[in-house]
C-alpha cells in the first residue's frame, strides 16, 4: 500500500479494524458460508424474494401467451417499462465493475472489502436487465435473431444500428463480469475447500477452486491476468452505458438526439450503482457482523462517489435544458417545456428532487457516516434514477413532431409485475449468494493486513 495513501486513511476510519490475523479474517468470512446456520430472517427474506420472482415468471408466461398487448406500450410510445427497466438495471451493474476494476487500477485498497458482493450485484443486475430486451422484441422465441448466426434466410444483422451494438456490448459485459467474478473466487474456493467439513461442500468447492494450491508461479500469472482483466473491464464498463445511450442519442427524437448522453448516462449508471451497493452493504454488514471489514470509510467513500456522480448527472440535466433553449430548435425547446409542465410533470419534478436536491445532504458529514440515513438516501436515488429513465424513454416519445401523433403511456399491472418481479429475482440471487459463496474476498482481505507486507 502507498505510504501516502495510508497516511490519509489513518486520519479517518480504517479500511479494516485492527487486531485481525490471516486466520481470524479467514474464519470470520468463511464461517458465514460454512458454519453459520441459516436464520429465520434469511428464509423469510429469501421466500419473499422468491415469490416475487415467481410473480415475474407468471407475468412473462402470460406475456408469451398473449403478446406485448398486455403491456402499456402503444404507438407512439413503443418503448415502455421494458426499456426503462433495462437501462436502470444495466446502470446499477456498473458500480460493481467500477469497484472491482477501476478502483483496483487506482490502487484504492478499500475496494477489497466490497468488490466481491458488488461484482455479484453486477452479475445479477445484468441478468435482470437481460430479460427485458429479450421479452420486448414481440416474438421472444426469435430473440436469437439478434445474433449473427448463419441462418437459412441468408441475412445478417444490420451493423449500422446502435441496437445491434447494444447486443454485443451487453453480452460482452455479462461475460467479462462473470469471468472477473469467477477468477476472483478461485483462491477463496480453495480456502472453503480446505475448511469445509461437509463432504459434498468440499467436493463442490474443490471443483470450483480448479485445484488451486497457491503456488507462487500461479499467483504471479493470476495477478497478471487479474490486472489485465481490470484494465480491459475499465474501458468496457464505460463503453456499455455509452452504447446504451446511443440507442437513444442516434435517434432523431427530440430529447434523445444529444451528445451529452454518453457521459451523463455513465455518470448516472455509477450513481445508481453505488446507491445499490450501499443498500446492500448496510444491511449485510449489520446482519453478518461485518462492521470491522466494511467500515465507516467504505460508507463515506461510496457516499462521496454518489455525491460526485450526482453532480455530473445534475450538470447533464442542466445542459439538456440549456441546449433546449440555445439550439433554437422549437421541438427541443418544447421537450423541456413539456417535461416541466406537461402531463408527466410530476415524475419529472420528483426526479429532480430525488436525484439533485435530496442528495445534496451528502455534503454533511453526519449524513455520510450514518448507515440509516445513507440507506434511505440510496433508496431515494434509486427511485430517482428509475424516474430519469422513465422520463427519457416515455416523455420524449409521447409528444414528438406532429401533434396528431401524440399519445400517453399508462403502464399496466403486467408491467409492474414484471418490474417488481425482477427486483425479487435480484434479491433472491443475492440471498443465495450470501449463503453459498464468501461475500467478501478473503484472500484480498489478507493482503490488507500489516503482516502481508514483505521487505526485500
Amino acid at each position: 500500500m502507498d505510504e501516502q495513501y495510508k497516511a490519509t486513511v489513518d486520519t479517518q476510519a480504517p479500511v479494516m479494524e485492527p487486531g485481525y490475523t490471516f486466520g481470524t479474517v479467514t474464519e470470520k468470512i468463511s464461517a458465514i458460508v460454512l458454519t453459520r446456520p441459516a436464520s429465520n430472517g434469511w428464509f423469510v427474506g429469501f421466500g419473499i424474494a422468491f415469490l416475487l420472482m415467481m410473480m415475474m415468471l407468471y407475468a412473462i408466461g402470460y406475456l408469451f401467451l398473449k403478446g406485448v398487448g398486455i403491456w402499456g406500450v402503444t404507438i407512439p410510445i413503443g418503448w415502455g417499462f421494458a426499456i426503462v427497466n433495462f437501462v436502470w438495471w444495466i446502470g446499477i451493474g456498473h458500480a460493481g465493475t467500477l469497484i472491482s476494476a477501476i478502483l483496483l487500477l487506482l490502487r484504492q485498497s478499500w475496494r477489497n472489502s466490497i468488490n466481491r458482493f458488488a461484482e455479484a450485484m453486477t452479475l445479477f443486475a445484468v441478468a435482470c436487465a437481460g430479460i427485458f430486451p429479450g421479452i420486448h422484441v414481440g416474438r421472444p422465441w426469435l430473440a436469437y435473431w439478434l445474433f449473427p448466426y448463419p441462418s437459412t434466410m441468408g441475412v445478417w444483422p444490420q451493423f449500422r444500428s446502435p441496437l445491434i451494438w447494444d447486443v454485443f456490448a451487453v453480452s460482452t459485459y455479462a461475460t467479462i463480469s462473470a469471468l472477473f467474478w469467477f477468477i476472483g473466487l478461485i483462491p477463496d474456493m480453495a480456502t472453503l475447500r480446505d475448511r469445509a467439513t461437509n463432504p459434498v461442500a468440499r467436493i463442490v468447492y474443490g471443483m470450483l477452486s480448479m485445484g488451486w494450491r497457491g503456488s507462487a508461479r500461479h499467483w504471479h500469472r493470476y495477478e497478471t491476468a487479474y490486472l489485465l482483466l481490470a484494465g480491459l473491464a475499465t474501458p468496457l464498463v464505460l463503453s456499455v452505458h455509452t452504447v446504451v445511450s446511443f440507442d437513444f442519442a442516434v435517434g432523431i427524437v427530440p430529447g434523445w438526439h444529444t451528445t451529452i448522453f454518453p457521459p451523463y448516462f455513465v455518470a448516472g449508471a455509477i450513481y445508481s450503482g453505488f446507491a445499490m451497493v450501499l443498500m446492500l452493504a448496510i444491511p449485510i454488514r449489520k446482519i453478518y457482523n461485518l462492521e470491522d471489514f466494511i467500515t465507516e470509510l467504505h460508507l463515506q467513500n461510496a457516499a462521496k462517489v454518489m455525491l460526485a456522480t450526482g453532480l455530473i448527472v445534475a450538470y447533464g440535466y442542466g445542459i439538456e435544458a440549456f441546449m433546449g433553449w440555445y439550439s433554437g430548435d422549437r421541438y427541443d425547446a418544447f421537450t423541456i417545456w413539456n417535461r416541466l409542465h406537461g402531463p408527466y410533470a410530476v415524475p419529472y419534478w420528483s426526479l429532480l428532487i430525488c436525484n439533485i436536491f435530496i442528495p445534496q445532504l451528502l455534503w454533511i458529514k453526519k449524513m455520510r457516516t450514518s448507515p440509516v440515513a445513507l440507506f434511505l438516501l440510496s433508496g431515494v436515488i434509486l427511485v430517482g434514477m428509475w424516474l430519469e429513465r422513465f422520463i427519457i424513454v416515455v416523455v420524449s416519445l409521447h409528444r414528438d413532431f406532429l401533434t396528431s401523433s401524440w399519445g400517453m403511456y399508462y403502464p399496466t399491472r403486467w408491467d409492474w409485475m414484471t418490474y417488481i418481479g425482477t427486483i425479487g429475482m435480484f434479491l433472491a440471487a443475492m440471498f443465495l449468494f450470501l449463503r453459498l459463496l464468501p461475500a467478501i474476498s478473503i484472500f484480498e482481505m489478507r493482503t490488507l493486513l500489516p503482516e502481508a507486507e514483505v521487505k526485500e
Partner: protein
C-alpha cells in the same frame, strides 16, 4: 505414508517474510526446482524462486488482436460482401459504424484469453496434486506458508535437503509422497 517415490520435501513457515527469506536462500543455495505456496499473492516471491517468464500478457495481446480482427472482418464480410443491404443510403462498408462491435469483440476475446490463458499456463484445473497429501497443507489457503524442494531437482538429496531446510528454521518439515 504411501509407498513410492518421494515428490519433494516441504517446509512450513509462519509468516510471509519468513517464506520470502527462505525461498531466497534456497534458490541461492542452487536449488532450481522449488516452489512456494502462500494464502495470498506476495510481491516478488515468484522472482525469488526463479520464475520470470509470465506469458499471460502475450496471450491476452494475441486474444485481443484476434478478437478485433474477427469483429471488424465479420461485419465487413456480412454487410459488404455476403449480403449487402442498402440502409438509408449509407455505404456498405460503413467503417465508423463497425467500431463499437470491433471494440467489444477485442475486449471479449482478450478477457477470455486472460482467464483461460492463465488457467492453462498454470495447468489448472488439476483436482489432484501430491502436495495435497500433506495434511498440514490445508493451512496454505489460510495462514501458513510453504516451501517445497522437488525430488526432481538435480541437487536433491533426501538427507542433505532436509538438513538444509531445517536450517531455515521452519515450523515443520514434511516429506511429500507422490
Amino acid at each position: 505414508m504411501k509407498r513410492g517415490p518421494v515428490y519433494g520435501i516441504m517446509a512450513e513457515f509462519d509468516s510471509a517474510q519468513a517464506l520470502v527469506d527462505a525461498a531466497k536462500r534456497t534458490h541461492q543455495a542452487g536449488y532450481q526446482k522449488i516452489d512456494a505456496y502462500s494464502p495470498f499473492p506476495i510481491e516478488g516471491l515468484a522472482e525469488e524462486i526463479g520464475f520470470y517468464r509470465d506469458e499471460v500478457p502475450l496471450v491476452v495481446l494475441i486474444g485481443g488482436i484476434v478478437g478485433g480482427l474477427t469483429g471488424y472482418l465479420m461485419q465487413y464480410w456480412m454487410s459488404a460482401v455476403d449480403y449487402p443491404l442498402n440502409i438509408g443510403g449509407k455505404p456498405y462498408h460503413s467503417w465508423p459504424s463497425f467500431i463499437v462491435i470491433t471494440f467489444e469483440m477485442t475486449i471479449l476475446f482478450a478477457g477470455i484469453s486472460a482467464v483461460f490463458g492463465m488457467l492453462a499456463l498454470n495447468g489448472l484445473p488439476m483436482p489432484y496434486h501430491p502436495v495435497f497429501n500433506v495434511p498440514r497443507f490445508s493451512s496454505a489457503s489460510k495462514d501458513r506458508f510453504f516451501l517445497i524442494v522437488f525430488s526432481s531437482d538435480p541437487k536433491y538429496d533426501p538427507a542433505a535437503t532436509r538438513g538444509f531446510l531445517q536450517d531455515l528454521k521452519p515450523r515443520s518439515i514434511s516429506e511429500v509422497p507422490s
